[in-house]
């Protein structure tokens, strides 16, 4: 679904990262971990064609990203940015309907079919009851779910989520991760970033550790999320503990 080779990325005139290579298959969940300023968001924006690559190649759904139009990219890849609040007071339904843009002609408005897709997306995230509320007057967590619903309304094959759990309470974090797992089970490839290594243990098949713009490790969470890699990335001491039943968890230690 997504194949990245020797990618160098960054802003115009400033390269942030280089030598990034990985492939993501349909139905696979990959979690990108890394410190603040490590290049996660910049990498995601480049993968979606929002920033020009500084080198290397990106294949999306077997086509070179370079050759795809904005609408063609949007029909293949949905983007859930880090939530923010500067929106006009569209209702949640209007907001989610914007996900249908790439499926519409330039002069058309969404029709019945689009409305049905949007409502299905709202329902699948359990926020159908918010449909008629202004997107500015729901909680940060609800807005995050609305952003996911909007990306689902694009009917993408790849979903890229930038810290989808960042503003959520504990329960909603788990619900969003469960949703990602079930979306992957339906065949969508999922790439998401998180600040909590446990999230990779919970729902990702692979984890990509990104520090200072380079891939530190990539592989099964159990193999790459270790005390030494976490300490190298975050500069704190951590224990990675096996739990009964085969799960793992990360426990930071504070040295007085």
């Amino acid at each position: 679904m997504l194949a990245v080779e020797n990618l160098a990325f960054g802003f115009p005139g400033r390269t942030v990262g280089r030598d990034v290579s990985f492939a993501l298959e349909a139905g696979e969940v990959m979690c990108v971990l890394g410190p603040n300023g490590g290049g996660k968001t910049t990498l995601f924006r480049t993968l979606l064609g929002l920033l020009e690559p500084h080198g290397g190649s990106i294949q999306l759904d077997s086509s070179s990203l370079r050759t795809l139009s904005r609408a063609e990219i949007a029909r293949r890849a949905g983007y859930v940015p880090q939530g923010h609040t500067g929106y006009f007071a569209f209702t949640v339904r209007e907001f989610v309907l914007m996900g249908r843009t790439a499926h519409l002609g330039i002069f058309s408005a969404p029709g019945k079919k689009d409305l049905a897709v949007a409502d299905r997306a709202l329902e699948s995230l359990g926020i159908a009851q918010l449909a008629d509320q202004p997107v500015t007057e729901i909680s940060g967590g609800e807005r995050q779910l609305a952003l996911v619903a909007r990306a689902l309304a694009q009917e993408p094959k790849l979903l890229v989520l930038d810290e989808p759990t960042a503003s959520l309470d504990f329960g909603n974090q788990v619900r969003v991760l469960a949703k990602l797992a079930s979306l992957a089970a339906s065949g969508i490839a999922i790439l998401f970033s998180s600040h909590d290594p446990d999230h990779a243990f919970l729902c990702a098949r692979r984890a990509l550790l990104l520090a200072e713009g380079r891939v530190l490790e990539i592989g099964a969470p159990r193999e790459v999320i270790r005390a030494d890699t976490l300490e190298r990335m975050y500069r704190v001491s951590v224990q990675v503990l096996p739990l009964p039943g085969g799960a793992h968890t990360c426990l930071p230690a504070i040295r007085p």
């Binding site: 005139g13 983007y79 940015p81 929106y87 006009f88 569209f90 790439a102 330039i106 694009q154």
Partner: protein, 317 residues
């Protein structure tokens, strides 16, 4: 409906009162006294139509810009169209040109100012494209403003300066059917893309990255909207002079009533803009024995209204 009523009322009141039945007689081609026919068709007709068109055009352009710049405090002047038009008109007056040429200068000045701002603003890479555009607009606007000040200083204080001041205050008093015939098609030409793109315009209200990730070529769409709004505003300002507040206030009022969806917002804002300017202009020519410039009255009514809205405003617009 109330707009229709207001229109009929605007035809009726004034220095030469006309009864409502007489208005309809004229409009439907029946025989009436020549005085009445002149007042309705030659004097008030163009003026009423101009108020409707200018009001609707300014409101539509303001609505588009407020959505596009994601800022409810933006007016159609933000990219310098009014200042450019003012400089064009002032230059025309300074060179003692005739009225047609002055209006042509105003129209061209408006287009040129926005063209310049857009040319420079879109070349300032590495910044938020909207911020670059707005800042360029402000800077160029200030520059044009000082050029206007210079021309005012140099102008003949007895003949030219009053004409300049009068133009800068805005007026619909001297509008002829021919000017209206030139401005109306241009305003309509600007309106057409906005109406056609009315759903897609909503996405410009999202952060740039999000709109692009949803499949919109924001640069192209934004260029088109700026061109359409500029054409409308320049056509309106060229015949009316500077009329403030309509493009800022009316979109607000409309958004309070129907929310931010551009498909519903645009028609309502145009109706409200047309009604507001017609009401203001009708007051202008009836409340005193001399004409009050509409630029004065819109501000007089607009300022308290705007402050009131602003005091009520929550963050969610």
């Amino acid at each position: 409906m109330s707009l229709l009523g207001l229109t009929v009322l605007a035809f009726a009141v004034g220095r030469y009162p006309v009864s409502i039945s007489e208005i309809f007689s004229v409009l439907f081609g029946q025989q009436v006294s020549p005085n009445v026919e002149t007042v309705v068709l030659q004097v008030r007709g163009p003026r009423v139509l101009a108020a409707l068109i200018v009001g609707a055009a300014l409101a539509a352009a303001g609505t588009a810009y407020q959505g596009m710049f994601r800022n409810p405090l933006v007016s159609p002047d933000i990219l310098g169209v009014s200042t450019g038009a003012a400089l064009g008109a002032v230059l025309g007056i300074f060179l003692s040109l005739n009225v047609i040429l002055i209006q042509l200068f105003a129209f061209a000045g408006g287009l040129a100012a926005v063209g310049l701002v857009y040319f420079i603003g879109s070349r300032l890479r590495g910044h938020d494209p909207l911020l670059a555009l707005v800042l360029t607009g402000v800077v160029i606007g200030t520059l044009l403003g000082s050029a206007i000040a210079l021309l005012k200083y140099l102008a003949d204080p007895y003949n030219q300066l009053p004409a300049i001041t009068y133009w800068l205050l805005g007026s619909l008093a001297a509008i002829t059917p021919r000017e209206l015939g030139a401005a109306a098609p241009l305003a309509l030409l600007g309106l057409a893309p906005m109406l056609l793109l009315r759903w897609r315009m909503n996405l410009l209200a999202l952060p740039d990255d999000e709109a692009r990730a949803l499949g919109v070529d924001t640069r192209k769409l934004r260029t088109l909207v700026v061109a359409a709004a500029t054409l409308m505003t320049a056509a309106a300002v060229a015949v009316s002079g500077i009329i403030g507040w309509v493009g800022l206030l009316i979109p607000h009022a409309a958004r309070l009533l129907v929310g931010p969806d551009f498909g519903r917002l645009l028609p309502l804002a145009m109706l409200l803009g047309a009604a507001f300017l017609l009401a203001v202009d009708t007051l202008c020519r009836t409340i005193a024995t001399i004409e009050v410039p509409p630029g004065v009255l819109t501000a007089l009514i607009g300022t308290p209204f705007f402050l009131w809205l602003f005091a009520l405003a929550r963050r969610s617009w």
